[in-house]
């Protein structure tokens, strides 16, 4: 398994490279969680779960287990 959204630290960004797992809800894809789009981790709830993200200009929160299904490339800086 490569890097996923669950591996990001607060404030870090990445580019989604794969979000095709069948356990990812369609709604998440519709909100823009698709390959090529940028994702930024804005905030973590206690116990690092759920995660508060900005994806493709959508602001949303997902649980860690879902985040761990979305593969990304980290953007440095």
């Amino acid at each position: 398994m490569g890097l996923t959204i669950a591996d990001l630290k607060k404030g870090e960004r990445g580019i989604i490279i794969d979000s095709s797992s069948k356990d990812i809800p369609l709604k998440l894809l519709e909100m823009g969680c698709l390959p090529g789009n940028e994702v930024k981790l804005l905030q973590l709830a206690p116990f690092s779960d759920p995660l508060y993200l900005n994806v493709n200009d959508s602001f949303l929160a997902i649980r860690k287990d879902t985040a761990a299904l979305i593969l990304i490339d980290r953007i440095d800086g």
Binding site: M31, L34, N56, S58, L60, T66
Partner: protein
């Protein structure tokens, strides 16, 4: 938007067979032209994942539906334009004339957003209205665009079938008379939302792809649409991020903070609680005394105290008073809940609470129903619909009735006033503290039983939890007020019907009785008490009559069961009546006690005084600390609301779960009330 167009000129109904609110209204477009406006539930796309969203799809797919629109108006937020355009392009593919409204254009400058509207209109094949519901601008433009809907192009924005031309070709050939995109939606719908019976369009035999292939195709559709949308926005939208004052991240830093976030949340809960107890008591007292004098007025001014006058004064007026007295508190609750939701704060609470709630087998999204449950369990059960995981949703539905709903309040308030002394502890009154403990007990029981249910029920792994974190906004007063008025009205009317009916039934049952003892009450009592004064005799006769009326017989029959809890047969009648709706308790006792005391010419006391003076035949008070606490606990835990049971049946589609609730909660209530009374007495 809907409120801005229709104002109070709207009505809320139900879609047949399901409990999704159907909001309709009328809007005057120009001189002599009115539009019938239907507000559909919000959705991100035409792929439904809840009953609410499904309403939208079913309507847009069915040209024969009487509500099928002449024109669809898609309302997009200027800040979420990209995402809202997904739905827009889908509706365009159904070849329905579609208008685009871009709302909140008043914040554009502040957020550094500029839009090239003419170009956007051209690329999207539509007309666009820039509107601000907050400032009330742009509505005229929108109205004239709606009026001219016939000139709107019906052409689609992009060809989504390009994601798999072969498949869509074959689909079109199989159903040559149908829109291919409509067919695709129906197929996709069945994957998302389970099979629905369709007369008009049956695609079940066209099964050339597996479910995972279909899901894959849906994903490709979303990608394709976003490619189009991103392309369009690249040429028509400029965002200068340096201009954006970042209120969101500043507020989020505090409101979702690991410590401050929770402190603020509990602070807000405390404020709501204080408001319900403190601010609402004045109007409530006013209503209480007003109705007491109204009952007296009816009694004195209607002709010579016949049976009908008695029915109006004792049954109907007391009954209605029992409903009206709720209005201040319910209005306050709905006020706070709608402010929390409108401001965008509720999503932050969901985010903060999810991990903790999951420990108890429910979701962060369960917090919203649990809070709404403090108003009424019915909207709360309906608010569970956006919980994606069925097990978490079911557990939430099952435990929500434990939270202290508005219907319990009158019972609590009156009993607390009777048994808890005045006085303060650390600045809080004993009575307020007792009420707060009752809220905590209810909430604690909800969480505890969720935990138990989670252990008992079988595991379900997938979570599918997605929460949108909207921008913070100042709630619009108009929206908040409309919500409060609508919800309060519905609640009072619904509860009012039940209460009124029960009051009348109770009054009839208390005023008539079988057998000789009821008929000859006067002579029997006079014989046995020859030498007491007249007014005391009258009281004794009335009491004797009540005891042998139909309702007295019911009360006496269940007395052995409730005696260990510290209740007499009159309270028993209240309990029995409460199984229809707990708010009838106070009204029931009021009815019973006014029927019981016959003394003519005396002031009609308020319910509270009547209850305080109620004694057993040996002179002991009926309402003591022990029996009061026992009664409070019984009402805290018992499932006494037919409307909630009915809604749970509808939402879970079986009688099994409402029955589990009814039996389980009643047993818990009985046990706790029993223990409390036996220890305190």
């Amino acid at each position: 938007m809907f409120n801005a167009l229709t104002g109070l000129n709207q009505k809320v109904g139900n879609y047949p067979g399901i409990t999704v609110d159907k909001k309709e209204g009328v809007c005057k477009l120009s001189r002599g032209v009115k539009a019938h406006i239907l507000d559909l539930p919000g959705t991100y796309s035409l792929n439904a994942s809840s009953i609410d969203e499904n309403v939208v799809i079913e309507l847009l797919l069915n040209k024969k539906d009487k509500d099928f629109p002449d024109v669809a108006v898609v309302v997009a937020d200027v800040e979420n334009l990209k995402r809202n355009l997904l739905l827009f392009t889908q509706i365009k593919d159904l070849k329905i004339p579609t208008l685009l409204v871009i709302n909140m254009n008043d914040v554009m400058a502040r957020k550094g957003i500029t839009l090239d509207i003419p170009k956007l209109e051209k690329l999207l094949n539509t007309k666009i209205a820039l509107v601000s519901t907050r400032k009330g601008t742009g509505l005229q433009v929108l109205k004239s665009l709606i009026e001219g809907y016939r000139t709107l192009p019906k052409t689609q924005c992009l060809d989504a079938t390009g994601i798999d031309p072969n498949y869509f070709d074959r689909l079109q050939k199989a159903f040559p008379n149908q829109e291919v995109y409509k067919l695709w939606l129906v197929i996709a719908q069945d994957v998302n939302f389970g099979k629905l019976a369709r007369k008009e369009l049956d695609v079940s035999q066209f099964r050339t792809k597996s479910i995972s292939e279909l899901k894959r195709l849906q994903q490709q559709e979303a990608i394709k649409r976003y490619q189009f949308i991103n392309g369009v926005l690249k040429t028509c939208q400029v965002i200068d991020r340096s201009k954006a004052k970042d209120l969101r991240s500043k507020l989020d830093r505090i409101l979702t903070h690991k410590i401050w976030g929770y402190l603020i949340f509990f602070g807000i809960l405390m404020t709501i609680f204080q408001a319900i107890y403190d601010w609402a008591t004045f109007p409530m007292d006013l209503i209480d005394t007003t109705f007491a004098s109204l009952a007296e007025w009816v009694k004195n001014s209607f002709p010579n105290g016949g049976k009908l006058t008695e029915l109006v004064a004792e049954g109907v007026v007391s009954g209605i008073g029992g409903v009206v007295i709720f209005i201040p508190q319910i209005a306050f609750l709905f006020l706070f809940i709608s402010i929390l939701e409108e401001s965008g704060y509720m999503s932050r609470v969901v985010f903060l609470m999810d991990r903790i709630m999951r420990r108890f087998g429910i979701s962060g999204k369960s917090v919203v129903p649990l809070i709404s449950g403090t108003a009424c369990a019915i909207p709360a059960v309906m608010a569970t619909r956006n919980i994606e995981n069925w097990k978490e949703r079911l557990i939430t539905i099952l435990v929500v009735p434990f939270t202290t709903c508005a219907a319990r309040l009158p019972v609590y308030l009156i009993i607390i006033a009777l048994i808890i002394p005045e006085g303060t502890f650390l600045g809080f009154s004993f009575q307020a503290l007792t009420l707060m403990s009752l809220y905590l007990i209810g909430f604690g029981m909800a969480i505890f039983s969720a935990y138990i249910l989670d252990r008992v029920m079988k595991k379900e792994r997938k979570s599918f939890f997605v929460v949108e974190m909207p921008n913070y906004k100042l709630p619009l007063l108009k929206n908040v007020l409309i919500t409060v008025i609508e919800k309060t009205k519905t609640f009072v009317l619904e509860a009012g019907k039940i209460i009124l009916a029960i009051s009348i039934v109770l009054w009839v049952m208390a005023s008539f009785g079988p057998g000789e003892k009821f008929k000859n009450a006067e002579s029997i009592v006079t014989q046995n008490n020859a030498d007491i004064p007249k007014f005391e005799l009258d009281d004794k006769i009335a009491a004797y009559r009540l005891e042998h009326s139909y309702i007295g017989i019911v009360g006496k029959t269940i007395e052995p069961v409730i005696k260990p809890l510290g209740y007499d047969w009159k309270i028993g009648i209240g309990l029995v009546a409460s199984f229809a709706a707990r708010e009838v308790f106070v009204g029931t006792l009021a009815t019973i006690y006014s029927v019981g005391s016959a003394s003519e010419g005396e002031n009609i006391d308020t319910i509270k005084t009547k209850m305080a003076n109620e004694r057993y035949s040996d002179g002991r008070k009926v309402f003591t600390l022990a029996s009061g606490i026992s009664l409070l606990l019984f009402y805290a835990f018992a499932m006494q609301c037919m409307s909630t049971l009915a809604i749970v049946k509808r939402e879970t589609k079986s009688w099994k779960w409402p029955m589990v609730q009814l039996v389980g909660m009643s047993i818990i209530a009985y046990i706790f009330a029993l223990i409390a009374f036996q220890i305190l007495n």
